[in-house]
Amino acid sequence: MTNVFDRAGGKVWDAFSGTTPSLSGPLPDPSTDAGWSGDHPKRVGFFTDTSVCIGCKACEVACKEWNLVPDDGTDASDLYRLTGMSYDNTGDLGASSWRHVAFIEDVRPHGTATPAHGGQQTGFLPAGLPAVHGGGNGHTPRDAATAPPDGGTVDLLALLPDSGAHGQQTPDDERDVRWLMSSDVCKHCTHAGCLDVCPTGALFRTEFGTVVVQDDICNGCGYCVPSCPYGVIDVRESDGGAHKCTLCYDRLGEGLEPACAKACPTNSIQFGDLDELQAAADARLAELHGRGVQEARLYGRDPDDGVGGDGAFFLLLDEPEVYGLPPDPIVTTRDLPEMWRNAALTAVGLGAAVVAAFWKGGRR
């Protein structure tokens, strides 16, 4: 036994001390890293091309139907209420929303907007959706007392461009509106914070390279919730378990594609082997840039980013934060060795302090 643990311990240490680069950075094959043998399937993922998204929300419904996810909302009283965030009444990803379609009404002075994709090239003004304050719908911040004090209703009216930066110089009929839609989902990160911090092994990396919660294991500790740099996973009030997109793990084994991708009418959500999706995405980006859609950019595609690249990545038409995505997410486990070192040193210090307190113990 001792040998076994020594060996394992050695491996743990290797992984941990950076000999095996598995806490951050590019990782060609996260499945192998997670102990799946060499003949496991290729890593799969989603490429969500928001330039063809029509915001129909089929993905949201198909996901719920397949995964038997309950209606969202914390209780019946706020279930059937408008959020006022354009046609988005889901609000965000959560335990009961594994797909979330964001709607952004982006207003620009006439002639400066680029058609959604393609069309003639016009200038691009970075003036986009204004920052709007307040909790919006859904989750009023978990602890109202600690909510940002400026939380108010989402008062779009007060934020309309003619009362803002563009001021009176752009009358109503000289403003163009761009309506951006994007179906958000769990990113199935190469380095998944939720998975790293899960103390029970409920969250695990599958042979497909995806990140899945095992509901029979999860004890609802909630650690994964704040560990996700994208705010994806959450604990469901009704059953206490943490839930998020499984990339339809139960379907993959049978060769079925995930429910959302299957339903998506315009193929905005594409499912497949990640390397192929990446190639397709690069080609699509080049095509859009060729057509003058300069604001198109890929998000989560880069294996050098803070999470080692996403298994579910996106083509966006504006800055990520406009869609509610963090502009430069990192997996905090990246800093864990340093944190452990600090904690260990401090612990030593604390122990020393206790001992020191007894130094030449003066007694009254």
Binding site: A131, P148, D150, P199, G220, G231, N342, A353, R363
Partner: protein
Amino acid sequence: MTDTNPAEIPTRFGHDEGREADRGSERRGRGRKGEQLQVPEAEFRSYYGRPIIKAPVWKNPDVPLYLFLGGLAATSAGLGALGGATDRPTLRRTGRLAAAGGAVGGTVFLVHDLHRPSRFLHMLRVFKPTSPLSVGTWILSPFATFAAATAAAEVVEPSLRRRGAHGLARVVRRAGNASGAASAVIGPALGTYTAVLFSNTAVPTWHEAHRHLPIVFAGSAAAAGGGMGLVGSSVRDNVPAARLAVAGAAVELAAGEVMERQLGLLGDVYRKGRAHTLMRASKACLAAGAVGTLLGRRRRWSAALSGLALMAGSALTRFGVFDAGIASANDPAHIVVPQRERLEQRRSTMDQDVAPPDRTFA
């Protein structure tokens, strides 16, 4: 149209506070009126001002109390063990009982915090060095076992002696000493791992403080354990507790201050709202407790009072840090602004000729 009812604001969206009449004039600004900020307002864009990451679902007060009790137990175990070794029976007794009480109480709160408490034992399926909570479980479990055994010994031994079972009492005492020593050795880890627990999250105010938080928490643990020692031990025995408490309070105060300053924008959560109140109260308690200890250690009541103040200060820090994290998670600016800055920095250091101009890795 005077006979229709006035517009109703749906309760789901309405917050009474913060409805500034002229919010519209600050489209891109953060729109915080009437709030004196040290950090200039940052411009950022977001999705309807909604949080980007999810705030912890950890329960309040369970988790702050667990942190506090863990810290208390961590140092109490050491005080108990060394108190026994240096013939300070009241400190020994206090330390041992507090260590056990803290560990058991902390475990109770930790289990209660789970949304599926019956599955607490699932924590023992795995050992994950990447999960501070897993590591913490493997710290807490033996610690609590040893501490509880030690406390049991502490309680059982005298009664054995009273019944004349001296041999058995001796065995029990030795066992208690051994397990007490073990818990004392493990203790400091229990006191500082919780800092990693918080830091290893995407909550900006916690993660960015990962260099300071262990020190703050260590100080807090020392203040709590020391404070408990002051409360529970006699004036004869309480010097180490007083030293530890004062040192802990000093460290906690200093490290806390440094942390808040170095957080910059992210520190704003400590300068407003409930976290601000809690941290102010914490500092006041710590300062009062430390001064009280220095001046009044020799009187049983003032020593106890100072000890209570220090414990309160320690606990309030935990609550304050917890609240600050929630507020930070709920504020999209905490995500967007630093990450944007990071991106800009990276971009500005990139060679413009090499960087593909048409590809944005956001």
